[in-house]
């Protein structure tokens, strides 16, 4: 299962964090900065840390890091991250680090439609975005 999803920029600032397994607040900050340090220092996109495995992808200045358990297929999660970015692209037209930051609640909603409780629930882009577009219509109307 997926243990957490993080989006961090190169300075180590967290842009989005979602944990599917309880992790104490105090530990989170340390964990996130260490992750960025590890990801930055390697040229490879896949890495091993004690307790869980990491799959990460870099998109310009943003790192999307997913922590997974041993039973998960890393290459599949790699594709999942890309799928997630494509969904974000579709909704926001152009995704930069700032977009994530200013629309944090919407990104969370999208993430919830894709991953629930540590497992993938939907990968089809239009279906993922359906509730969000409905919400937008409700907010406008």
């Amino acid at each position: 299962m997926i243990k957490f999803v993080l989006m961090v920029n190169r300075q180590g600032q967290t842009r989005l964090s979602r944990y599917y397994e309880p992790v104490e607040l105090s530990r989170r900050a340390a964990l996130e900065s260490e992750l960025v340090r590890v990801c930055l220092s390697r040229s490879k996109d896949q890495v091993c840390l004690p307790d869980f495995r990491l799959v990460y992808r870099q998109y310009a200045a943003l790192f999307i890091v997913v922590g997974i358990s041993d039973s998960e297929n890393e290459l599949s999660v790699y594709e999942l991250v890309h799928n997630f970015v494509e969904v974000l692209d579709k909704y926001f037209s152009r995704v930069v680090s700032d977009t994530i930051m200013f629309n944090l609640d919407k990104v969370h909603i999208i993430l919830d439609e894709m991953i629930q409780n540590g497992h993938v629930v939907e990968t089809n882009k239009s279906r993922i975005l359906a509730p969000l577009t409905a919400l937008d219509k409700m907010a406008d109307g």
Partner: protein, 762 residues
């Protein structure tokens, strides 16, 4: 009254902060404003305020005062409120807070709401952080939604059911009828989550597993459709139709086929089809192939299919993408024991990976190379591995050196080769060799009787070059102390004997004593070596002088030794030759610890080496001072060799705990036990805690463990040291308590350990 700022404005404001202190100030100000707004029970802006609170929570600031507000938002009728409320609940609450129980009623109502998006929210939140009580209360509603025809809700209900089952395993039966036609759904989202639900049920209950085996044909059909169907724009990812679903189905097939011949046979064809038809040019295809390989290796597949799988892995090794290579090496590591010959065919590719630039790949390649070493390829492999040892990063050197020693011990084609290999390791990576290798090597050298002259000569020459690598220096000093006479008399047969005088040898050893590079342990070795030479060399006076000088050394250990040796010269000179004579051949007891010897096709190989933990210490071990316990006052001389055999203290549910023993010098009443915990199941055991209690006449001290995760499939061990004081020399008994988390559930067990070998407490 000014409306409170929106989330965006807050973020913009915070970004203008130039220091951490400034940011903190801004946030505290905002928190204060939000708090007063909450107190005023402001309904209009609550949503906005909670959103800001969530952002601040993400940055690491406390946000607990917003918990109750989330509940109020959930209870509101507006969808925007509910949305933020549920999000807040998922981020801020978990079952440790009592507040969360208040949500139960809201969730119950929302599960029956008229709008599907609200129902979806409730399902999502329940599935995320519902406690066992909540799950028990609401399981019925979830089950109802599992049977609905609305695919949006059905898929979420399936995952929510997974969470309910995890929290309250007894309720699994309840969801069984709903699963009947889950797989006939067309909607991929539902299919996907249904497969996840079925996987969870099968993993938890062997009855469910046998029950669901009948689904194998249906799963095979679905998979076939995915592969054979043409382009489907809805699910396409780089030309492959819904790879995520394919991977999930393959995983479920793996679980279903695992120990069952019929199921395995039923899926044979489709696995072969997937393996041969999937596009390998993109990562997507490789992801599916990877899962297929894992499945093939796990079920009872026929050998042709297994060879196909290993060949796929072999091809992965040649892929340009380092991720693929990494994944291939990891999988090969898991299968090297069972399909050894097939993996051997790819040995040269694996060895090439040692030269890869990436650190993780190098490590995996190293472990795999060690696993592939056998009697036939030892010379070639060792050449590559020694070359790797020369050029690799320091973080690898210790493990590599230990691995080389282990492999050399098992498969050395000749004693000369063995000693040469050891010399090579000591001279190139001497400072990285683990301290426990020193006694092992000494034992090895002692037992290779015909090589003594050659060994001591080579070690002496190495010492002349470099005295900075402590393990090398220690082994060399010990050898010179033992075989110095052979060195001086030039008896070497294997190579040109060097001309060296007694004085030159003593110069070198004394040099070690004064050098800043020598550690106290090394100095101890050097002093003892000098002492031993007093019975082998003729320049006894020089040795007496050195020994008496060190009788006033600041280092207490050296001082004690020197004083004792002095006493040996003065009062017990008649005993000296006997005490310092040549060491006898030491018996080797069996290796213990995490390495298991697996018999495959007549070859015995070591299993996979740990990444983090050193390979086991062969038993004799620790003290190498070469003196004997004596009853004479003032003369403490301790036993070299304590061969207490290891024992298995506990072996249940895949967790095995072995005890290895040492005696702590100088107090012979203290037994030092090292526990080695290994895990042969498929899932890691986390939060592993080992506790022990002993009867009143003993005292126990537990040192910190090496880690608290016992990795799956015997890939590593957790070690921990226990010191037991046994002044009354009573029979050692122990009660142990083990707690760990396995596959999400906590496990606890108590056991009595009574089978301690007599030597450990006598």
């Amino acid at each position: 009254l000014v409306p409170p700022p929106r989330l965006r404005e807050l973020i913009r404001t915070i970004r203008t902060a130039r220091t951490q202190a400034e940011e903190r100030e801004m946030i505290q100000k905002e928190c204060a404003a939000i708090r007063s707004s909450f107190r005023e029970e402001d309904n209009t802006y609550r949503c906005r305020n909670v959103a800001k609170l969530l952002y601040m929570h993400m940055l690491g600031y406390p946000a607990h005062f917003g918990q109750l507000e989330c509940l109020k938002l959930i209870a509101s009728q507006k969808f925007t409120d509910k949305r933020i409320g549920y999000l807040g609940a998922m981020l801020l609450l978990d079952e440790r807070q009592d507040v969360h129980l208040l949500m139960t009623n809201c969730i119950k109502n929302d599960l029956n709401h008229s709008t599907q998006y609200v129902q979806g929210l409730a399902l999502c939140t329940l599935g995320c952080m519902g406690s066992s009580e909540m799950c028990r209360d609401l399981a019925g509603e979830v089950e109802k939604l599992l049977k609905t025809s609305n695919s949006y809700l059905r898929k979420k209900a399936a995952l929510c059911a997974v969470h309910v089952i995890r929290k309250v395993p007894e309720l699994m039966e309840m969801f069984l009828p709903a699963t009947k036609n889950l797989l006939s759904e067309k909607n991929h989202g539902v299919l996907h989550t249904s497969v996840v639900l079925l996987t969870e049920m099968c993993e938890r209950s062997p009855d469910m597993l046998s029950h669901f085996r009948k689904l194998v044909p249906q799963l095979v059909r679905i998979l076939k459709n995915l592969i054979m169907s043409g382009y489907s724009p809805e699910h396409d990812v780089s030309g492959i139709s819904d790879p995520f679903l394919q991977v999930r189905i393959l995983r479920l097939l793996r679980i279903l086929g695992r120990s069952d011949d019929d199921s395995s046979e039923a899926m044979n064809d489709i696995l072969a089809q997937v393996a041969t038809n999937t596009e390998t040019s993109k990562n997507v295809g490789n992801a599916i192939l990877y899962e297929t390989v894992l499945t093939i290796m796990d079920i009872k597949s026929e050998s042709g299919l297994r060879v196909l799988a290993i060949n796929i892995l072999g091809r992965f090794l040649l892929n340009n993408d380092k991720n693929i290579r990494y994944v291939a090496l990891t999988s090969l590591l898991k299968t090297v024991q069972t399909d050894h010959n097939a993996v051997q065919r790819h040995r040269s590719t694996i060895v090439d990976c040692l030269k890869d630039l990436d650190v993780s790949i190098k490590r995996r390649a190293m472990e795999l190379s060690f696993a592939l070493v056998n009697g036939n390829n030892i010379r070639g492999m060792m050449k590559e591995l020694l070359y790797f040892l020369d050029s690799c990063d320091p973080e690898f050197k210790a493990d590599c050196a230990s691995g080389v020693f282990l492999a050399a011990e098992k498969y050395a084609p000749s004693k000369r080769w063995h000693i040469d290999t050891i010399m090579r390791v000591l001279t190139t990576a001497g400072s990285y060799v683990r301290d426990d290798s020193v006694p092992n090597l000494i034992q090895l050298i002692t037992n290779s009787v015909e090589m003594h002259a050659y060994t001591v000569q080579r070690l002496y020459k190495a010492l002349l070059d470099d005295i900075s690598q402590q393990p090398l220096v220690q082994v060399s000093s010990w050898c010179i102390g033992e075989y110095g006479d052979l060195l001086v008399s030039g008896q070497c047969e294997e190579e040109e004997p060097i001309q060296v005088t007694e004085d030159e040898v003593l110069d070198v050893l004394e040099g070690l004593l004064v050098s800043n590079l020598s550690t106290p342990v090394t100095r101890g070795y050097a002093l003892t070596a000098i002492m031993k030479l007093s019975t082998r060399f003729s320049s006894v006076n020089r040795i007496k002088k050195v020994v008496s000088i060190y009788g006033s050394s600041i280092d207490v250990e050296l001082q004690q030794r020197a004083v004792e040796y002095n006493a040996l010269f003065k009062k017990y000179d008649h005993m000296r030759p006997a005490l310092l004579e040549r060491m006898p051949i030491m018996e080797k007891t069996a290796t213990n610890g995490p390495t298991e010897i697996v018999q495959t096709n007549g070859e015995t190989e070591p299993s996979v080496l740990d990444t983090k933990h050193p390979p086991p210490v062969t038993q004799p071990a620790n003290q190498v001072r070469g003196v004997i316990i004596s009853k004479y006052a003032g003369l403490h001389l301790c036993n070299l060799y304590i061969g207490i055999p290891p024992m298995t203290a506990y072996n249940k549910n895949g967790l095995k705990i072995e005890f290895t023993f040492e005696r702590a010098n100088p107090n012979p009443n203290i037994a030092v036990i090292t526990i080695h915990a290994s895990n042969s199941t498929e899932a890691d055991m986390t939060d592993f805690v080992f506790q022990a209690a002993v009867p009143k006449t003993f005292q126990l001290q537990l040192l910190s463990p090496s880690s608290n995760v016992v990795p799956a499939l015997n890939q590593g061990t957790v070690t921990q040291v226990i010191r037991v004081l046994n002044p009354q020399k009573q029979q050692l008994r122990m009660r142990i308590k083990l707690t760990y988390t396995h596959k999400g559930s906590p496990v606890q067990d108590l056991a009595e350990v009574n089978n301690f070998p007599p030597q450990s407490w006598q």
